[in-house]
Amino acid sequence: MAEHARGHHGSAERWGSRLGIILAVAGSAVGLGNFLRFPVQAAQHGGGAFMIPYFVALLLLGIPLSIVEWTIGRYGGTHGHNTAAGAFAAMWRWRGAKYLGLLGVFGPWVIFLYYTYVESWTLAFSYFSLAGLYDRSTDAVSMSAFLKAFQGLAPNDRFANIGTAYFFFLVTFGLNLVVLAGGIRRGIEFVSKVFLPMLFVLAVLLVVQIFWLGVLGAQPDPGWNSRVLDGLGYLWNPDFSVLGDSNVWLAAAGQILFTLSVGIGAIVTYASYLRPDDDVTLSALSAVGMNEFAEVMLGGCLVIPAAYAFFGSGEMTAIAKGGAFNLGFVTMPLVLNQMPVRHLVGCAWFFLLFLAGITSSISLAQPVVAFFQNVYGWTRAKAVTVFGLTSFVLSQPAIWWLGHGAVDEMDFWGGTFCLVVFGTMEVLLFGWIFGMDRGWREIHRGALVKLHPVFKVIIRYVTPAYLLFLLAFWLYDSAKATIAMSGVSAADRPYVLATRWLLIGLFIVLALSMRTALRGRRRIQELRP
């Protein structure tokens, strides 16, 4: 791919403004994880004490990786590449580099395949809230039954089949393609500029609603505020005994990678549409700051305090242990159903999740669209069409095999394993192969903030060591069990295995087609006089 780069001076598409790219990257980072995954992770891993490993991971992993990804992306962009595969090839002359970088196209694609389906549930539930469709579900059991029937797992009189879920999936999938077809400036940037501020306004309104419900509610509840504060206490009261547990440090590191969308390849693609002298340091820090604001300050003030105030300590603990997923689709509707103007508040909550979801899913799709454009020389319309058709086919297992663990399998390899592996490769490539001095100059080209020299040491030594430790711990602790599918029931194994082969097949097809396309291009170049 490097040969294809020569003669290019950046790609034709560009961001319209600095705010546009920052909002797009922040939109990519602010997703379902901020409002659902973070509070549960924090509450399960020592409450306030979780924030110690969390901030350590933010400083040693999140911020350095974020800056490295922005820089790699911009460097690739100035050489005519909009994906990690191209950027890796531009930074490292080894022929295999582009195949390593391909992980930054494959990973986001895998996540996109199931993420859009989950995102479509948020759109469906915002409609259900408005129409009062789950008003009859008044406890966790009936709400779970409602969700399962909607997903086609256990049909009932409300949902006889998966049809409704499939309809909302088609709408969400189509909306994603429309945004992508609009391109960087008129599609992704426009949507991010409109949706992200809307998301923040909705989140603040919901926080106000929850904290002032005792005063604002139809029947004033004098004990409400103290219960909400107790809910905050559930999240923040520290349990220092967990700090010696390596699993807590792993969970914190995982949450940071997941929430900042680093190690995926999405930031590389977004940053590739920057101009060569556009700032990356301040932009990266701003996007990190916005994501943390959404996660810790807004995300932490919504779900846990509300559920705690309604259900009390015992049930709240059970809910938190039930996982982030239950919390969003089972608990929150029940909580919000007890508020004044419940239909509107419920709709606002799910629409908030939808906005958070779509700004993330378009960032997962753009690396693949850019890959098609770069490698095959396709127009944006053709790239989006082919991406849409293939993704539609490939996302079917997530829909039909949901109950058999297909989504969990995709989430593990695409959303967890690839993140750590790709993040490690990026930081090693940047600090050791591209060279730290060269990298440092590249980071500071056009920079609006000068980084403290300690980041040089962090990027070269600390971040890679941290990530390698995470990988080694996974290999030691759970690799064997994961690969052998030991937690999967015998009935589900064929589905999980089929999903796994589908993912392996997708990577092989991507790699082979890239090889063929680049060889063809090289031959054409050789034939030219």
Partner: protein, 33 residues
């Protein structure tokens, strides 16, 4: 919420607000230049 909980909340929120303010101030300064 215990006093230690308040401390953690204050430190975490303070860090994030500080980061955001730093970024927006810098961005505003550079835009004016």
């Amino acid at each position: 919420m215990s006093p230690a909980g308040w401390v953690f909340l204050a430190v975490s929120w303070g860090f994030i607000i500080g980061l955001c303010l730093f970024c927006f101030r810098r961005m505003f300064q550079t835009r004016r230049k």
